[in-house]
Symmetry: C2
Subunit: 239 residues, 2 copies
Amino acid sequence: MKEINYLLGYKNLKIVQDKEMFKFSLDSILLPNFATINKRYKNILDIGTGNAPILLVLSTKTKANLVGVEIQEESYNLAYESVKMNNLDNQITLINSDIKDYARGDITEYYDSILCNPPYFPYLTSSEVNKNDLKTLARHEKSLTLEDIMKISRKLLKNNGNLAFVHRPDRLVDIITLMRANNIEPKRIQFVYPKEGKDANILLVEGTKNGAPGIKILEPLYVYDNNGEYTNKIKKYFE
Amino acid sequence: MKEINYLLGYKNLKIVQDKEMFKFSLDSILLPNFATINKRYKNILDIGTGNAPILLVLSTKTKANLVGVEIQEESYNLAYESVKMNNLDNQITLINSDIKDYARGDITEYYDSILCNPPYFPYLTSSEVNKNDLKTLARHEKSLTLEDIMKISRKLLKNNGNLAFVHRPDRLVDIITLMRANNIEPKRIQFVYPKEGKDANILLVEGTKNGAPGIKILEPLYVYDNNGEYTNKIKKYFE
């Protein structure tokens, strides 16, 4: 069953969602707010667009051409409806394809920035695989490994272009190792904590193609305050 | 000129320091408070002991044998005086040696835990080298590189033993990459921030020899509150 929601606090943006599918999450709001958005950027790619929450938020922050590649036809269709509904057809291009096929083409060193909210759990055991296939694809590294993302980004990014993504902190070592191994030097990290006194549960990381070594750890971001309300910093992302 | 100070808030511990030398810093207090200290630990090593602040703090937390290796004779002498003065000769053994020579010996898989507050700046340009040689040795990777520390730790640690150290966050990628490359899997990280709204300026990291992948990012630690006073968490370390 489809439903139309406002994209959290982005009051002028609507998003089409399917109750049975993997909905947009806080991650999709955090990532485009974390990523470096330079005024000179011409082309930005979102890998694994889903129903396009990241592209919708990006449209409020940049005039660059926004491209989203999504493998699942159902998600692509929802994204398409959202883009139409928000009159963003001129800025956002959606492609219903496996990103691996898209990247195999002639396209190379084209993007100023790539964003990705990738599948989270290593595709290891059948017990971990959700029975709903759409959710499985969205959540697991079944169709796209971390290494795939690095290799694709390396090909598609301009020199000094940025790859930003959101992941679970427990994969920090894998991510950082793979980024450097693919000449995407990690430059900025922000950890997100559910509230004070807890371990981080979201990792935001950005690397620069052929960047020099040296990384900044930004101030921590708390999602909830001690009253269970969104903190002011999170509220700001919704305004 | 020598002076005797109380080891910050550790009111029963005194430490001998030389005004011309590299004094103990907050790092030396943070590290032994961050490191895992298990009751079953029998032997703990501190690489680059200096005037022994880390060993003195550790003596309040564990009954294990504590060994400190320090290359500089002047620092070793100060450490020796401090250990004597605090009547810790039975628990703390000091060795005036290059850790590389110490590790070349028969000793292997002996330590449950290794702590290290290593030299901070890569030894690159002559302009970076402080004219005071003692400070130079203590601050620069002149005599001991990060890779040296990893290789030495790998040899000296028991299986599943821990290496904890304190460093600058901008070296995060180097550190994590080198740890994994030497079979010391990073398992816990804590970032220390000077105060709210600033980037992290201290990195605490612990890895386990032959540990399984997967890392925890502990809650952030702020040194100062908005009034410029130590935060309660930092004050707790001094009690």
